[in-house]
């Protein structure tokens, strides 16, 4: 697939001049010299990256290259792993998220996450979506909560399929529907950044297409970071692409440029299928 043909009409693509402007004004996440260790293993080495607001950023790279690990440092999900240690600086809107005063719970409300395998709670569809708003106290009453749930499900592009069975179990949905439910659950807490860890790897091509379409829509409101194994997917949905290899960020730039004219030979080898 030729990445340059995608979304020609997108404002992100038309003017090189605007790019620098965006970098300054819409810098959502700034990571500087990030190191991640699992015990003695140095999993992420010196990664510095700027992630823009209202943009889809794709992390690509062979298995075990650290892209998922890096994604999980962005909302401190790695905190749950005892042996994991993060060094360097990651800031969101200028706030260092590894500052001692930062409560990871608040951070995760701001940085939502969708996982590789759809993981709805074994509860009703409604409760799945309502759980986040409930624990964060986003709704004052039932009517408001209903509204939040409906809005989130519409955002997740699943409202029409489930509106008549909101109290049916979320785990009874098909895989693709479950993943969109998980996306709806993630957006229900009104996050500013949405992290997606290979969200389509467990889905069939039709469900994948639906989720990809959804990701493109989510870009209107969020900064989306997606880890993917599929280079076609990265080319289809993202504006920026970062290529990771053996824990290093090898190359980061406009998706069109990475796929058509990579600077680093390793990137070229990977996208042409010689490594990975």
């Amino acid at each position: 697939m030729d990445a340059t043909n995608i979304k020609r009409d997108d404002p992100m693509y038309d003017a090189p001049l605007r790019k620098t402007e965006l970098d300054v004004q819409q810098n959502k996440i700034a990571a500087r010299d990030v190191q991640v260790y699992y015990g003695d293993t140095h999993a992420i080495k010196d990664v510095s990256v700027d992630i823009l607001d209202k943009t889809v950023t794709a992390f690509i790279g062979p298995s075990g290259c650290g892209k998922s690990t890096f994604l999980r440092t962005l909302n401190r999900m790695n905190d749950t792993i005892d042996i994991c240690r993060v060094e360097g600086q990651i800031s969101i809107d200028g706030d260092d998220i590894y500052d001692k005063r930062v409560d990871p719970v608040q951070l995760r409300a701001k940085v939502g996450m969708v996982f590789q395998k759809p993981n709805p709670f074994p509860k009703s569809i409604y409760d799945n979506v309502a759980y986040g708003p409930r624990i964060h106290g986003l709704a004052r009453n039932k009517a408001e909560l209903d509204e939040i749930v409906e809005k989130a499900l519409r955002r997740g592009a699943i409202w029409n399929e489930v509106k008549d069975r909101l109290h049916a179990p979320g785990t009874g949905l098909s895989g693709g529907q479950q993943q969109r439910l998980c996306i709806a659950r993630a957006v229900a807490t009104e996050p500013e950044v949405l992290l997606m860890d290979e969200p389509c790897s467990a889905l069939d091509p039709i469900a994948t297409a639906q989720v990809e379409e959804l990701i493109d829509e989510l870009r209107q409101d969020y900064s989306v970071v997606i880890v993917t194994h599929s280079m076609q997917q990265a080319a289809r949905v993202s504006q920026k692409t970062a290529f990771f290899h053996l824990g290093n960020l090898v190359e980061y730039g406009e998706t069109s440029q990475i796929f058509t004219n990579p600077v680093d030979p390793r990137t070229e080898s990977y996208i042409t299928g010689r490594i990975g």
Partner: protein
């Protein structure tokens, strides 16, 4: 190896319809293994059937008891000499006052039925009746003082020898040297049975009654020790479930994984394998000698069994917490739940069936435990009455079901042998009920979606 395979396959003469030597060998091995498996299961089933048959055939008799219907004339002269029906006065007449009335009544009944007997004195027939008969009549009279002066027909317990004769435990040969009963008494029993006054019927006293002295096997029941077991189980449930679940949740979800938690983990597993009598001596030292809690009390028994059950509950709870997929924790943390919210809102409900099953299995184990009770004084001839209330239920000396069974099994009178087996039937029924509850709860809490 590969050469051999190649040469075999390379011959090209092997047909798919005839098995080659290797295949035949493999198939034979599989057939043998299936046979071993079936044989093992068959042996297991056989022993189970033998066990159950033995228990039921030996113990079922305990649920039946021989009774003699005796119309007793409640003589006012003897039972209420003052004639004012004052309960305090009536209590002064002990069972010795009732015995002659009952013996006379039985003598009269034999005479009226036209049964020929060599016994001339009413007192000679007392061997037929349980020593508890007088107490039985007295209790009834104290409750119904208005009936004094009437002739009331009582179903009185026959003595254990008579009961044994009807259950083929006692024969004319076996009583030759028995001072408690003569052949003449057995003739009377036959005659009374033919007359219909003496019969075997269901004995609620065995299930609901209290223990009786060595010489009154016919009166002994499991009811009071059942209550002792119940109070112990309450203590175990109230203490072991919250402590065990809290400890497991902390260790599994919150505790850092380091050397100290490793040591704790290993020790909990070791505690599960510690012989229960060790917990008994620990309970004796800690709760009775140090804390001065009363001896033989279900409270102490419950505390000891709590110590014993905790490792079981912790291990099964941790296993079921571990079985909850990590993706659920990720999902909860990912929407900004705190660790505690993730645990209590999502992980714990999913682990619930396992926790409940583990708890009930632990309780069932505790219910059947005898050894630690030996050391805190809960085995022996202890309670003859129901506790007065909740407090004395916990604090007053009592026994427990398995301890009572053990106590019966070691008594000399062969009548107690049957009661020990009968007690085991009741204990097994309780264990069966608890296991059914565990299955039902598991089904109820299990989320199939």
């Amino acid at each position: 190896m590969s050469d051999a395979t190649y040469s075999g396959a390379g011959k090209g003469r092997s047909s798919l319809t005839t098995a080659d030597a290797r295949t035949a060998k493999r198939n034979a091995a599989e057939k043998r293994f299936r046979f071993y498996g079936l044989a093992a299961i068959g042996a297991g089933m056989f022993f189970l059937v033998v066990l159950l048959t033995a228990i039921v055939s030996n113990g079922i008799g305990a649920f039946q008891q021989t009774f003699i219907e005796v119309p007793v004339y409640l003589d006012e002269q003897a039972l209420d000499p003052n004639g004012n029906r004052d309960p305090a006065d009536m209590r002064k007449v002990s069972t010795f006052g009732y015995n002659p009335l009952i013996q006379t009544a039985l003598y009269q009944q034999v005479r009226d039925a036209g049964i020929e007997t060599s016994y001339e004195d009413a007192g000679d027939m007392k061997a037929l009746l349980s020593a508890s008969a007088a107490a039985e009549v007295r209790d009834w009279v104290l409750e119904n003082p208005g009936r004094i002066g009437d002739t009331v027909t009582f179903e009185l317990l026959a003595s254990s020898r008579v009961d044994g004769y009807l259950k083929d435990r006692v024969s004319r040969d076996s009583i030759v040297n028995d001072r408690n009963i003569d052949a003449g008494h057995l003739d009377l029993v036959d005659a009374l049975q033919a007359d219909g006054a003496l019969h075997k019927s269901f004995n609620p006293g065995f299930i609901f009654g209290s223990d009786a002295s060595e010489s009154r096997a016919e009166q002994a029941g499991l009811g009071v020790s059942m209550l002792g077991s119940l109070f112990m189980m309450l203590v175990v449930l109230v203490l072991a479930l919250p402590i065990g679940v809290a400890a497991s949740i902390y260790l599994e979800e919150f505790a850092p994984k380091n050397r100290i938690t490793d040591i704790i983990e290993v020790n909990i597993s070791n505690l599960a394998a510690v012989p229960s009598i060790v917990f008994g001596i620990l309970g004796l030292a800690a709760f009775i000698q140090f804390a001065h809690l009363p001896q033989s009390a279900p409270l102490v028994g419950g505390l000891v069994l709590t110590l014993m059950t905790l490792p079981t509950i912790i291990i099964s709870t941790r296993a079921s917490l571990k079985a909850v997929p990590p993706s659920i924790r990720d999902a909860a943390l990912g929407v900004g739940a705190s660790k505690m919210q993730a645990t209590f809102h999502h992980v714990l409900p999913l682990a619930m069936p396992g926790i409940l099953t583990g708890t009930i299995i632990g309780l069932a184990q505790a219910l059947g435990e005898t050894a630690p009770l030996l050391l805190i004084g809960m085995v022996g001839y202890i309670a003859t009455n129901y506790p007065d209330g909740i407090v004395s239920g916990f604090m007053a000396p009592n026994s427990a079901m398995p301890a009572q069974i053990y106590e019966w099994a070691k008594r000399a009178d062969p009548a107690y042998y049957e009661r020990a087996w009968g007690g085991i039937i009741i204990l097994l029924v309780f264990l069966l009920i608890m296991n059914v509850i565990a299955v039902v709860l598991r089904r109820k809490f299990e989320r199939r979606w």
